[in-house]
Symmetry: C3
Subunit: 318 residues, 3 copies
Amino acid sequence: MDITENIPFSLGAQLESVAGSLQDSYFAHRRIHHISTRLMPSRDEIYEITQQLFALIYPGFFGRLDLAVENIDSHLRDLLENLSKGLYLQIYNSLSYKSQNDDEMLKQRASQVTKNFFKALPEIRELLEGDVLAGFKGDPAAQDTDVVIFSYPATIAIGTYRLAHALWNMQVPLLPRVMTEQAHSLTGIDIHPGAGIGRNFFIDHGTGVVIGETTVIGDNCKLYQGVTLGAVSFPHNDEGQIIRGNKRHPTLEDDVIVYSNTSILGDVTIGKGATIGGNIFLTRSIPPGCTVTAKQAELHYRNRHHSLDRGVVTDYQI
Amino acid sequence: MDITENIPFSLGAQLESVAGSLQDSYFAHRRIHHISTRLMPSRDEIYEITQQLFALIYPGFFGRLDLAVENIDSHLRDLLENLSKGLYLQIYNSLSYKSQNDDEMLKQRASQVTKNFFKALPEIRELLEGDVLAGFKGDPAAQDTDVVIFSYPATIAIGTYRLAHALWNMQVPLLPRVMTEQAHSLTGIDIHPGAGIGRNFFIDHGTGVVIGETTVIGDNCKLYQGVTLGAVSFPHNDEGQIIRGNKRHPTLEDDVIVYSNTSILGDVTIGKGATIGGNIFLTRSIPPGCTVTAKQAELHYRNRHHSLDRGVVTDYQI
Amino acid sequence: MDITENIPFSLGAQLESVAGSLQDSYFAHRRIHHISTRLMPSRDEIYEITQQLFALIYPGFFGRLDLAVENIDSHLRDLLENLSKGLYLQIYNSLSYKSQNDDEMLKQRASQVTKNFFKALPEIRELLEGDVLAGFKGDPAAQDTDVVIFSYPATIAIGTYRLAHALWNMQVPLLPRVMTEQAHSLTGIDIHPGAGIGRNFFIDHGTGVVIGETTVIGDNCKLYQGVTLGAVSFPHNDEGQIIRGNKRHPTLEDDVIVYSNTSILGDVTIGKGATIGGNIFLTRSIPPGCTVTAKQAELHYRNRHHSLDRGVVTDYQI
């Protein structure tokens, strides 16, 4: 049954003019349509593929739950067959949708990338186990690693980043960015797939975290919500156009902690073992082992009841 | 097959008392139910409609992907027929669900608003192309406009805002707010549909951005993550109730940039071409062409290894 | 039709080695799989259950919309039958998936918890009506309570928290945390189910809010976007392991307001009626009735046009 059939409305005679003016608009503003025989990748399919990759990486936690020693082998083969075809198609579309290259060559390249990606999965799993363990060790509210896998946004954001980063390194356009942006939508954590991140990485809470394209992060680092690892300004070329691709985001060496709502901007280096306090705005390098805190803003305290009841405002500082 | 049929649980005899106490609760707390012959609009349908509007505006990027010169005309008509009925129904329900007005009048009004909205779409597309281009020009990590359309939260948040703002201007209640709130949920960017925003608008990263109801933004403005354009306090009337509707948010003139995590609060004006740095708390107007930065908080550096190894705390500032 | 059947790709001979290396990986990295006869709870089912609970609590707003006096009774019974079975299963799986306890005992406990939870719903509804009303009273952009229920992230975040908190108090593992984390994903508001929150609670905008596990909040409190009620540091035991469970987050007494992007850290007490301004970093207790503001950072203003056009930089402060 068409749910819309009983709705007492039709564009009627205006359908013609609305459709016509939209088609005119498609021709006038070409940047925001893609009407072409070469398909764009599909955001919905990419989302589905990431879900299936999580089922592959965290069996029993994501996707099908009733996995036992008896059925794991057949489950794995079915999942791999289906998933690899879907991923191949999105890689192919990402490579081909605006390419002038020979189609056979694009297919071979998509095929090769897909195979290499699946070969890399065990290594990615090893990294992810380290990340989950870092989450458990780093948060007193975590009762076990299960709750970290099951309900921590870091698991979604970092897991998706590590998968997307592998595809980024294989020079697949568009697809890795769509993957990390879907994780950003789910978690509020925005990690560019081009960033380089070491082992045992944890982000607690995470909403508002931004990790820019050329950021480099060592092993055993931890970030809290609202941390920006960003750029401070962009150089422009002689025509006034922005220069793309140069290193413009921070480097965090191993064992660095950055507390909540701190921004570190520019191509600076935070040395091994440094701790950066919360609510700090930092645009310079920090030596290894250094703890950075900000002199807190002077606070003013006013006793509202005094001022309301007796007409006296008590300003004092403690 | 009912998936629940094998679950060995039933409320049994307690079903009666639980259902009864909930019904009592419905009568006792009437503000949070809507049991009525006049239906509320549907959040799920509104979400679906916004998705279809994106398919209409960005053909080949959102919705059906295999669009070619041969099928675009029939695709467009099918989409328009279906979508216009769905939108009409949500507009009608938004207008009628608590109205005492004559039903025929409400239907005519819903019909008129729906038609006017579709007539406005080409103009909205023109604005959105400008926004996408602003995103490409403003971010060195963007390789082309496709990646901006496909994976930037600004595309969802600003696109949804421009559609919702058109309905807001036609005095449709509830519906525009639901639309922008769904975009907020997807992107972390909270733009009130009542705000007025000029051409070529871009928000980078975006998580935590809040743009209040009476904000006015000129052409070519750019915001970063965590920026609040908010109110500083609310006037109350003699009965102590909040006064609604007055201008209480900032005005940004053309060509203004506001960097990450800055709050601009109150009905102040940021003049044409001004640049407001990151992590600033601003409650006053700024003249045109002015660059505002904050004196950074004094930072304290302590070398952890020194203090741990030799019992000496080295406090120094660089 | 299998959508993947026409895709010209297969892992082919490599399926064997990929499946094999993944199985090796499952054995090598056991923390991130759950291949076991005892099932984990299901994130998808928990999401569906929370949706149905919202339909039960806000009838006519969420879930089925066409509710009238004539059908509310049968609707309620159907919903309760279905929902209670689904919730029972997730509670049972949460209790049993890694338990060594007798299965009969676990079933009885799951059954008792499920029944107690449904008995608590009318009381939760009463609290939620207070929260909705607080939202309406506290935001000048709210036209009525309907728009608060329908489109405010606070409704999702606080509503889910109150449901999850009831299950947390009944010592159900995992499930409550998954529920609040799904609300975090939808709203950017991260409330730990262990926190204690009084009546008439409102969070405006909300993206970036973090409310930690041992936070206590009194009646009639209001928070804005970006507020962290967090811990300042974690004590470790003699083996260097983090100590879990102690009170490490703030207490807010009744009638406290905390403005946007402020962090209050540690087990401090904000006294009754206190108001904490925006963008403040606070690690100490505040007496009742006190208004706290920060001395704003000194701002620097530079007129860009002057410096560009005449080679003169005008630094001034206003």
